[in-house]
């Protein structure tokens, strides 16, 4: 069928794979029967329960097909079955690494339908929590990426800081992973006394520790060699597949929803030039390779720290939630809100008919879209590279399957 576009295959099988510095490694052209290997659903490197059916010629991958749905939890059906507010805890659970961002996206979509303003302190707390959660999510992304590559220890170091972050969230909302903190119309609880200074202490320590991760993992020569020149996503490919987030910026496409379609307080933050958007430059290999994506994530953590500091600087006392009725009746209409999740554009498309229950509650999961590029990246890679490529897409299976 000619409906799919074909790209120039990045590596032809007889020519061998290009290596850094112009070296070229040649595979001996002995053809044997291809082997089909099932990677997953239970496999240490598939980030949960994804299954990749890999066709391999020895160690060389000739084709790969991701199979999803091992964690399909009917989130959209539930969105059409429970009340508006009752759906909020479920938004925590599809992207469980960035629950704050999910809460934010869903709340913003509903608020857009309601057409309400939310108090400024609530916005501050929302931004702060979302950025903190972005740090936590990237910590896991890079940590598990290191784990996939074989470096066990950085993962534990990163979890140590994440644990601290989770303790902070626990203090403000009472849960470690599934926060349900950002509610429709604001946030549901003001920060407890002393919490903001604890966040500041976290930022101070994190900046020191970040350097360690950077030296220990991102700049490690073996890590660089394992990830550079692997899984190269070109600009055209990125746009064609609709990639977003660090995947896009890893291919040096300057796009960040926080800056380009500002929501919440990001307008002001951008005006203050409080943060910048790291763009990959292909420093260690080809532009758009796995290392670039990992690097973008690592740099984004520091940018998030800057935003958190901006919020801590500007935050003022005030109310944290608007006047919201107990049973929400949302005016009819439909709205799509895309926010910058740690993994890319998290879109919520909600349709209301004026009742207590949504008509449609679509979640555009960034990892679902980002994962589609896998089929394109795999052929030509080695078996070990498949892990590096899957890891660099930073998927959360809860979100791909929803």
């Amino acid at each position: 069928m000619s409906t799919t576009k074909t790209y120039e295959p990045s590596i032809s099988r007889t020519e061998g794979r290009p290596l850094a510095g112009g070296e070229r490694e040649y595979m001996i052209d002995v053809r044997t029967q291809d082997m089909e290997v099932n990677m997953g659903p239970q496999h240490p490197a598939t980030h949960g329960v994804m299954r990749v059916l890999v066709r391999a010629d020895g160690e060389l991958i000739t084709g790969a097909q991701p199979h999803l749905g091992y964690l399909h939890r009917c989130a959209e059906k539930i969105g059409e079955s429970v009340e508006w507010l009752q759906y909020l805890p479920y938004t925590d659970r599809y992207d469980y690494l960035a629950a704050m961002n999910n809460n934010l996206g869903y709340s913003m979509a509903v608020e857009k339908l309601m057409g309400i303003e939310i108090p400024r302190r609530a916005m501050m707390l929302r931004t702060l929590c979302a950025e903190l959660n972005r740090i936590g999510s990237h910590l896991i992304a890079i940590g598990t990426y290191g784990l996939d590559i074989g470096a066990f220890t950085p993962f534990l170091y990163m979890f140590r800081e994440r644990e601290w972050m989770m303790a902070l969230f626990e203090k403000i909302c009472g849960a470690r992973l599934t926060y349900s903190y950002i509610r429709i119309g604001g946030v549901f609880n003001d920060a407890p006394p002393g919490w903001l200074s604890e966040v500041e202490a976290f930022c101070d320590t994190f900046e020191v520790k970040w350097r360690e991760y950077y030296d220990l993992l991102i700049q490690n020569h073996i890590f660089v060699k394992r990830t550079a020149d692997i899984g190269v996503i070109t600009r055209e490919m990125a746009l064609d597949f609709g990639l977003t987030g660090p995947m896009l910026r890893g291919s040096a496409i300057d796009w960040d929803l926080r800056r380009d379609t500002p929501y919440e307080l990001y307008d002001e933050i951008c005006k203050d030039k409080a943060f910048e958007i790291p763009l990959a430059s292909g420093e260690k290999g080809t532009l758009g390779d796995c290392w670039d994506r990992a690097w973008v994530r690592a740099m984004e953590m520091m940018e998030s720290i800057k935003i958190v500091r901006w919020c801590l600087d500007k935050i003022e006392p005030g109310p944290v939630i608007g006047d919201i009725p107990k049973t929400l009746r949302i005016p009819p209409g439909e709205a799509y809100v895309g926010i910058e999740n740690p993994r890319g554009e998290l879109g919520h498309y909600v349709v209301s008919d004026g009742g207590k229950i949504a008509v449609r509650c679509r979640v555009r999961g960034p990892s679902f879209v980002n994962l589609a590029v896998l089929e394109e990246l795999m052929p030509g890679a080695l078996l070990a590279d498949t892990i590096a490529i899957i890891g660099s897409t930073d998927i959360v299976v809860g979100e791909t399957d929803r």
């Binding site: 091992y70 964690l71 399909h72 939890r73 925590d92 659970r93 534990l156 644990e163 299976v397």
Partner: protein, 166 residues
């Protein structure tokens, strides 16, 4: 071991041997690297520095079910995954244990009502030894569940005749 298994009457010697063997088993419960959903993150947290499940001798997460003793079902099980879970459980050599971590694995959890693909409790697929409530449970709760499992192992009989015959 097959020769000696569950053959002997209760006496001082067999009781002590049983105690020792059970102690060895409970001191080295190796879980399988097998995370499903949100609870898997808390399961990872248990392995990490703050909680450190390795203190109990249970920190050697094995990727292969053949070398694992414990399956921590950490997350929602749906129909597509249920068959795989059954297979993984069958691949583990006995004695093997399963912990249902969190509400989803225990009884469908938040997806009980509208989750059309969700298995309402992993015990419909594999036998479960210990259930842990929470969504997701704190890492400490998982440690608590592990200790509960250790109690259960300590009470089991290895070379003695089982007390309760079913």
């Amino acid at each position: 071991m097959g020769l000696f298994e569950k053959q002997f009457e209760d006496n001082v010697l067999t009781t002590n041997v049983d105690w020792l063997l059970n102690w060895c088993r409970l001191s080295s419960i190796w879980p399988m690297t097998f995370g499903l959903a949100c609870c898997a993150i808390e399961m990872m947290a248990v392995g990490c520095a703050h909680h450190d499940i390795d203190r109990f001798g249970a920190g050697a997460f094995r990727a292969s079910p053949r070398q694992a003793d414990l399956m921590i079902v950490a997350g929602t099980v749906n129909f597509k995954m249920a068959e795989r879970i059954k297979r993984l459980y069958d691949q583990m050599p006995s004695p093997k244990y399963a912990i249902a971590m969190g509400a989803c694995a225990t009884g469908g959890g938040p997806y009980y009502k509208y989750g059309y693909t969700v298995v309402k409790g992993v015990d419909r697929v594999v036998p479960v030894d210990v259930y842990i409530a929470g969504c997701p449970p704190r890492p400490e709760a998982l440690l608590e569940g592990l200790m509960k499992l250790q109690e259960k192992i300590q009470a089991s009989s290895v070379i003695r005749k089982p007390i309760h015959t079913v």
